[in-house]
Amino acid sequence: MYDIKILEDNWEKYKIKKRKPWYIFIFFILVVIGIIFILLKSDFTFFSDDQNFFTKINDFTISKTKLNNNSKDYALINGPLNRLELIEDTSKNIKKVDVSNDLLVDIPILDIPDESISTQVDALKRKKPHLNIIESTNVKAYKDVEKRFYESHDIDDGLFLARSYYKKENYKKSEYWSLQVNKLDTNVEESLFIFVKSKIKLGHKNEALGILISYIKKSNSKEAKNLLLHINNNKF
């Protein structure tokens, strides 16, 4: 009789040897799957980023209510972004159009605290095409916002108009729109500031100072005090 223990040990070794090609094969398959997964993931990330970009823009445009809570500048972004969606495919043509500095001034810079929104706005800023849209649809865009304001009484729309007209030196309109916003919400400090500044520009400095001082008394706002200082120093 043979030594069964030795034979059993040899059989165990044989079993391992027999399975070796399978282990190698499985390992190879796993490596291949891993490589494919990594490659796909990297491709997907690239694609997915773009997709996110558009998705976020859509969200931004469509779900106005989301922004209402976080952003004063919804109205500002809303118009341009709507157009951005439409002309994204024609970006080549858009790039060819010169963007003037005046126009850049025309578009207020967003200062949205929310990180996600600011990222999108940054992306938008990088993409100059939307400026051209504003240029080409400038008047219509303001009309649209005004129309929308009368329908929805959205503070952000009103603020956008006040801010924009002020920058365009159309102080009558900026006074009007800041007043509209103030009627809706007296706590929107910016509307008050635009109103005061517009008044001063229109030559009603005393009236403007009276309003500002009474507001400072009421709110003790640091920003309002700064503005008062600026006015007193004749920086307007």
Binding site: M1, Y2, I4, L7, E8, N10, W11, K13, Y14
Partner: protein, 270 residues
Amino acid sequence: MKSRYATAKNVFLDSIDIDDYIELDSSVVTYQLLEQSIEKPLKMILLFGKPGTGKSILLNRLHKKLKQQKEIYYFDTPAANEKEFFYKLFKVLAQQKLPNNTEINFSALIEFCQNLRGKREIVILLDEAQMYSAEIMEKIRLLSDTRTIKFVVSLHKTEDEDLIAKEHFQSRIWEVIELRNATNKEQTSYIHKKLLKKNLFEIANSIKEKDMKLIHKFTKGNYRECNKLMFTIFEICEYYDKNEPAKINYAKIPKKIIEMSALKLGYIHV
């Protein structure tokens, strides 16, 4: 107490005993072919095949079956030298032993055979003929030319031996019968019949189709290798049955044991 596997093991002891002969379809055909060839007026018949394909047992069976009807002789072991071969041949032809201190005169032997032509028809079955020297083979060829002695030459089939067969017998061999390794089906039948012959039905039933395939894979359908493998399998089974019965499944021969046997016999390696 004797293990059930002890009997099974002994069934596969390698032997050319006619009682152990298993009739398979292919072996029946070969046997009939050989029997018919002997009846034909041929001088020499070449039976060849790889070792373990059943040449010896076939010759043995033929001898046993025809010895009552014909003058047939079976030289199972090859003669060590020419003298020994002619001593055996003289005994066959003269029906007596060669007297001491005498030698065969080959020319006289040829003449003797020629004189016997038509009177006697002698068949000599030469097993393991590849072991005969070229000189003896040449004399065998001359003896067959007398048409008194018909030789059935059994050769191992290898490339070299094929060459021998061609060189020495090409012009004289009228019939060539080749024995081949068994197919899986034939080998399965062989194993089952061997076990059933000894009433080992349960054990025969414990070797499943998959196991048979594995056995055939290891032995390549060679009967001798099959006997060796089956013997080893049952020997290991016997060990487990006696010493570690928990490790053995009586309803099915474990694959592990078949592989262990194959390792033991060198069919597979670690």
